[in-house]
Structures are given as C-alpha cells and as structure tokens.
Symmetry: C2
Subunit: 219 residues, 2 copies
DNA sequence: ATTTAATTCAAACGACTGTTTGAAACATGC
DNA sequence: GCATGTTTCAAACAGTCGTTTGAATTAAAT
C-alpha cells in the first residue's frame, strides 16, 4: 500500500470530475483514465456507476451531517431551556457544509458537488439524498419552528425551501461570484460566506408575511 | 398544416421531456418517439441537439425577459422621480417567470426547466444563458442598487446571488414543496408563490450586515 | 511452498448516442 | 404538364456508454 488505495483513488477522481462536469456528463472511462486504474475496478469495488455516485456523496456528506447534528445538540445544551436563536441554528446547518471548501483534502470540489445534487432530476439519487438528509431535516425543521414562534408551519416550509435554494446555489456557483466580486472565497474565507448567508436567510425567515394581493378581477 | 407544425411539435415535446429528466438524460430518439416525427427532422429544423436546447429555452425565456424589462420600465415611469421600492423591483423580476406555470400552453414544465438550467455545468449552455440574461442582469442590478442605498456593491452582489438561488430552486422543485404542504401551486396560485418569494428575498436584501466573526486564533 | 482468497487486467458484450446521407414525398410556381 | 424548392423518411455512420467475463496477477493463510 505504498501508493494510495485504488478504491480511494477512484473516489477522489470521481469526486473531482463529477463536481466539474456533472454526474451524467462524466463517464466511467473518463474517471479510470484520470485515476489510472482499470475499468473493471469500478464495478469490482462499487458495483455500478450509480453506487459509485452514492459513495462519492456519502463519504463527505455523512460526516458533515453528523457534525450538523452534534453542533445543534451542543448549542441546545448550552442554551439551557432558552429557545435557540435563529442565527445559531443556521450556523449549525451551514458551517459544516461550507467548511469543506477550506479543507485542502476535500478541496472546493465537493461543495460544488453537493450544490449540484439538489438540481438533479435523477429519481434514485433523489431518494438516496432524502435518506441521507432525513434526520437533519427533522431536527432542523423543529429548530426552525422553535426559533420562529409566530410563523405558520406552511410559511416556514416555504422559507426553508428558499433557504435551501440559496444555500445550494451558493455552493454550486461559488467560483462564479468570486470572479465577479473579486473576493477570493476559495481560501479559508468561507467564514464570511457563511456570515453573509446567515444574514440573508435569517432576515428572510423573519420577514413579515404580507397579505395576499387582491385579485384584479373576480375569476 | 392541419396538424401542428413538426417544428413546434418537436419543441413542445423536447420542452416537456427536458423538464422532466434533464438535458443530458433525454436523447433525441426519446423526443422523436414521443413527438412522432422522424429523427432527421431534428437536425433539419435545428441543426444539432445543442441548438434544439437553445431554441427550447429561448422560445419561452425571450418573451419573459422582455416582459420583465417592460414591467420595470413601466414601474419606473409611474414612480416618477421617486426611487422604486425593492418589492416592486422583485415583483417585476419574478412575476413574468412564475406566471408561465399557470399558462396552460406552457404548462408547469417550462418553469422547472429554467430552474434546472442554472445548475447545469455545460459550458455552451451557460454562455448562452448569460447572453439571454445580459440586459436583465444590468437593468435589475441597477434597480437593486437604487433601492438599497445603504448596501455595499459587494454585499448586494452576494445577495442577488442568494436571491437567484432561492428563485431557481423554487422553480425547479415547485412540485416537491406542493406535495409536502398540500398547497396546489400548479394552478393559478403562482400569485402566492411570488408573494412568499418577495417577502423572503426583500427581507434578505434589507438585512443588517453583521460584523465579521472574530477569528478564534490568529493564523 | 502450496492453497486460498482478493484484486487487477485486457477484451468484448449489446445497447444507445448525435449526426449524416441520399432517396423518396410533398408543396409550390410556371 | 414540368420544374423547383421544401420537408420527410429509412438506413447507416462512427463512437461512446455501463456492464460482464475469464484469465492473469498479487496478497494472505496454512
């Protein structure tokens, strides 16, 4: 085992290529050519391309989701019986995800990958992600409700949806914005990204619900 | 020309399938089988698959962007020399896009398609979209600046980014949320979707900029 | 050293991809 | 009528796709 394991070399290469061009656009032959392994090795170690995709995602996402949940639990413990502040909950949700951008091992590639997953229409992948995120959705959904006592459940769901969109899009096109504004966010500047995202989404969650616009004509 | 034109039948079918499964996942043979036309007809009328994708998008997006710009111009004219309210600007941006969900001709399929485009990593498609959106980005960027006098240009760019993410994700997964909450949004209820999105993003834009978190250790 | 298991390898499988071709079918103008 | 240009059609092109196979290689265990 002098050189890196075949299995992890496949994972690393697949992660990089998937993040760059998408899951469908990258073929197994692209991966094995770049990873310098045999084509059959993919099926030997993972079984199928679909399973490889799942492994690539799960390897990073599972620790992230674990960190999210422990962060939330710790915050809850520290705050005693006082309800958690919304910004605190959002921080627990965002930080573990954006921190991997600063991680030299994972690199900025994976974050983009996670952002991309949410836009995929692949049925199996969607099911898989929902399974991975199930506990996170439950715990943080409850935390949001607790932090926003005045808000309808329905409205809270919609706003969680908006928040998820802002988060995913930011991950997916992190480099895009950097080029526009000149900030170098690929460095350990993920802190300011998280701060900006919290500012925006927390205010969005707390927004006053405006009354429905009266219809111009009766149907 | 008793039955619908071949060209538009290809466009309609491609739009529907692309929205359901994505651009890469749908082959030309899937399209021509469902549209009941010959395979070569695609290349005869459009030249290539890439060109077909562009046509599918442009057919709906171009009128939408036109409507966005005229709405903004009209709002500006009505408001005289008073600066436009942020909510008004957002309404001009969102409404034409979400209105197509209620359009029985376009159906809810196209909206999803637009949402999906933003997550695509395809280089050519991205260039194409930027070209289509150029004027919209310029005009509305200026309108946001005018409506948010206190905000840095940099912070405004980030928040525009967050807003775009919330918008795209909402379009892309409109059905998802509907199933959860029980609202039937595929009907002409796009009004309330727009209202909710305006509430959320307007508050996000106006959020107080919190100071940077002090670093735990000096690097 | 011999047996057993785990891993790598080249080669092929059938199915599918976007695109091209050249001949038919159609419509239109003279 | 014939000629013109436009549109449709079946068939094939050259690749690429994910997956499978069976032998060759390496590692581990006895």
């Amino acid at each position: 085992m002098a050189k890196t394991d075949t299995k992890t070399r496949i994972l690393d290469t697949a992660e990089r290529l998937f993040a760059q061009k998408g899951f469908d656009a990258v073929s197994l032959r692209n991966i094995i050519a770049s990873a310098k392994v045999n084509l059959a090795a993919v099926h030997y170690h993972f079984g199928s391309k679909q399973a490889l995709v799942h492994s690539v995602i799960a390897r990073r996402l599972r620790p992230i989701n674990g960190e999210r949940l422990t962060n939330l639990a710790e915050a809850r413990a520290k705050s005693g019986r006082r309800p958690l502040k919304l910004e605190r909950v959002l921080d627990c949700l965002f930080r573990p995800l954006f921190r991997v951008q600063a991680d030299p091992k994972a690199g900025p590639t994976f974050a983009r990958l996670v952002g991309r997953v949410m836009g995929e229409r692949n049925e199996g992948l969607h099911k898989f992600m929902m399974g991975e995120l199930a506990e996170v959705i439950i715990q943080f959904g409850a935390a949001f409700e607790a932090a926003l006592p005045g808000l309808t459940k329905e409205e809270a769901d919609w706003r969680s949806h908006f928040m998820a969109g802002a988060m995913a899009h930011t991950l997916c096109n992190a480099d895009l914005l950097v080029r526009f504004t000149g900030t170098d966010a690929d460095a350990s500047d993920y802190e300011s990204t998280v701060r900006r995202l919290i500012d925006f989404t927390a205010a969005g969650f707390r927004a006053k619900v405006s009354p429905p616009t009266r219809p111009r004509k009766k149907k």
